[in-house]
């Protein structure tokens, strides 16, 4: 293991001094461009978590773009790997890799695949894409942190549809039993999954009560209120000895009126006209 070129603290970079809502706007703009160019899917899933990512990557995570494998870094596992565009966008913005890698996202010969992929991509902790894998892996990372007496934290972001997977609940049972208070689950609860609303497909309610019953310290937040997100992520662990679950109430497609709460945008890639309207709504600077 090599020493870091410079032990840059997160707060020292210009980006981290920004208002997270401006960063979230840029993540959405960048994701929209990527998905439009690539003609790929999951723009709705990307937009619902953009504010969460903006706060995590500017205010919360102890990471160093100059030393992606820094052993004491906080780990972030994007378990909903289909919504990788905003992750790539924020990683590029933070300087983990060149921004021009975003240009040919998902296309032939590109650096960046259509699901979160760690191979050759600094800053992507784990490759995901099949749902229900992130939380068990995060548990393993958190367990090592505890056993070795290290102070890194492990964050993992799950989709709501992902909570249909049994492996999520195997891990949900495991983490409190092993008192993994260095583990933070965030559920991006945008209420729409692949073929319909969560309520129609396989109702998760009462979701907070389920996690609580499994032994987690649970908080419900507005996943688009960056101040609320920042506040909750600043006081971790909420309760010593317990893993934290943040149920983040979000809107699928948040930020573009015609995409919001619309299942279609789990799949559809914006055409040129839609893209023009979306960029205006997202506040692209002319």
């Amino acid at each position: 293991m090599t020493e870091p070129k410079k032990k840059q603290s997160v707060s020292s970079s210009a980006l981290t001094a920004c208002d997270a809502s401006l960063v979230a706007r840029d993540i959405r703009l960048q994701s929209a461009r990527m998905i439009h160019r690539a003609k790929s899917s999951h723009i709705g899933s990307a937009f619902s978590m953009a504010d969460l990512l903006a706060v995590l990557y500017t205010k919360t995570l102890r990471i160093d773009p100059n030393w992606p494998d820094w052993p004491e870094r906080d780990r972030f596992v994007l378990s909903k790997g289909h919504a990788c565009a905003p992750l790539y966008a924020i990683l590029a913005m933070r300087g983990f890799f060149p921004k021009d890698w975003l240009d040919d996202f998902y296309q032939d010969g590109a650096h960046l695949a259509g699901h979160a992929t760690h191979v050759g991509v600094p800053g992507v902790e784990v490759s995901t894409g099949s749902l229900g894998h992130g939380l068990p892996i995060a548990c393993g990372m958190a367990l090592v942190g505890k056993r070795d007496g290290r102070d890194y934290r492990v964050f993992t972001l799950l989709s709501d549809g992902e909570c249909d997977e049994g492996s999520v609940w195997e891990a949900a049972l495991f983490a409190p039993h092993h008192r993994l208070d260095n583990l933070i689950v965030i559920v991006d609860y945008n209420k729409i999954q692949s073929l319909g609303t969560v309520k129609e497909v396989l109702d998760l309610e009462p979701l907070a009560a389920k996690w609580r019953a499994f032994g987690w310290e649970v908080r419900e937040i507005d996943g688009h209120d960056v101040q609320e997100i920042e506040q909750i992520l600043a006081v971790l662990p909420i309760k010593t000895g317990k893993p934290t679950c943040i149920i983040s109430h979000t809107i699928k497609g948040k930020g573009v009126s015609f995409m919001e709460n619309n299942l279609l945008w789990h799949y559809r890639s914006p055409d040129r006209d839609e893209m023009t309207r979306a960029l205006v709504e997202l506040g692209e600077e002319q």
């Binding site: 760690h118 892996i137 393993g140 492996s167 195997e170 049972l173």
Partner: protein, 317 residues
């Protein structure tokens, strides 16, 4: 083999505190001593193999050497996608250990027969597939996979198998161990059928035919050199495995022979049909039902050699 594995991993854990053992709530009477002695290197993940395997990957990505342990198909098939994506794709240093490979849990029924595991594990990128032939090989294999910094699958038999090797062995991943020398034909076995292979060879020796016996403990990567040497030098190869005939040892050997253009050799695979056992019974009983007893194998090999060699002589003249 179970005891040999525990002995080996205990020694490893003593030497290297990165070595961890995770069990899926199985191993009664086997893992307790390890758990007591190395509490910080042991974990019972509960009856939750998908989570167990994901945890193992996460721990390995955090610097540990992690063995997952359960019986038959549980640590393999139940969590196959975790093995593929979380372990293999990330090249995580995880060793998957299944006790009760093949028909070891015979009477417990088909849910407990691990008879497709070699084929499935072989197909996974980066996965090294090992099925030791006796307790000595099992102990050496455990050490060898711990030193190999990539995913490995270790298929063990049960407890109390006879030792086939009488002398110290040189165990290297991907290199077959020759147990008996002979020029007339070669028996290649993997896993616990090694003892059977040796007995078959002994039986032929009495009739004047000398068989070479290879313990192909590593099914992937397969020892092509040993296979091709056997083909050149003995002109007849029989594979023995307690596994489906699809995609296991026999398939791997056939691939090597076919691609090398081996001509004029006798080749036959012995194993299980792609089926669920039609009978209930012990390992020995089900083996016998599928022609894997010493007597059945001797008869089948004798008949094959006779027919094939007669045939090839006839066509040559």
């Amino acid at each position: 083999m179970r005891g040999a594995f525990i002995r080996a991993i205990t020694a490893l854990a003593e030497r290297d505190n990165r070595v961890h053992l995770i069990v899926g709530d199985l191993g009664f009477g086997v893992v307790e001593k390890f758990a007591q002695r190395f509490p910080a290197q042991f974990l019972n993940a509960g009856v939750a193999e998908q989570n167990m395997t994901g945890i193992a990957a996460g721990m390995a990505l955090s610097g540990k050497i992690v063995f997952t342990y359960s019986i038959a198909n549980f640590p393999v098939l139940r969590c196959l996608e975790q093995i593929r994506n979380d372990v293999c794709y990330h090249n995580a240093n995880v060793k998957i250990v299944a006790v009760g490979g093949g028909l070891a849990y015979g009477s417990l029924g088909s849910t407990h027969h691990a008879t497709e595991d070699l084929a499935i594990m072989r197909a996974l990128p980066r996965m090294v597939v090992v099925a030791p032939g006796d307790p000595m090989e099992a102990e050496a294999a455990t050490e060898a996979i711990a030193s190999h910094p990539s995913p490995c699958y270790l298929r063990l038999g049960r407890a109390g198998e006879a030792s086939v090797h009488q002398e110290k062995i040189r165990f290297r991943l991907g290199k077959a161990i020759q147990v008996g020398e002979g020029k007339d034909f070669t028996l290649i076995s993997t896993g616990g059928l090694l003892e059977t292979a040796v007995k078959v060879a002994e039986s032929f020796r009495k009739t004047g035919l000398q068989a070479r016996v290879l313990s192909m403990h590593t099914v992937k990567p397969i020892d092509s050199d040993a296979i091709l040497a056997a083909s050149r030098e003995t002109h007849a190869i029989f594979t023995l495995e307690e596994h489906s005939l699809l995609g296991g040892l026999g398939g791997a050997v056939a691939e090597v022979l076919a691609e090398a253009g081996a001509e004029g050799i006798v080749f036959k695979r012995f194993g299980l049909p792609s089926a669920f056992s039609s009978v209930i019974g012990t390992q020995e009983y089900i083996r016998a039902n599928y022609g894997l007893s010493v007597a059945s194998l001797v008869a089948a090999i004798r008949s094959t050699l006779k027919n094939e060699r007669t045939f090839s002589v006839t066509t040559a003249s």
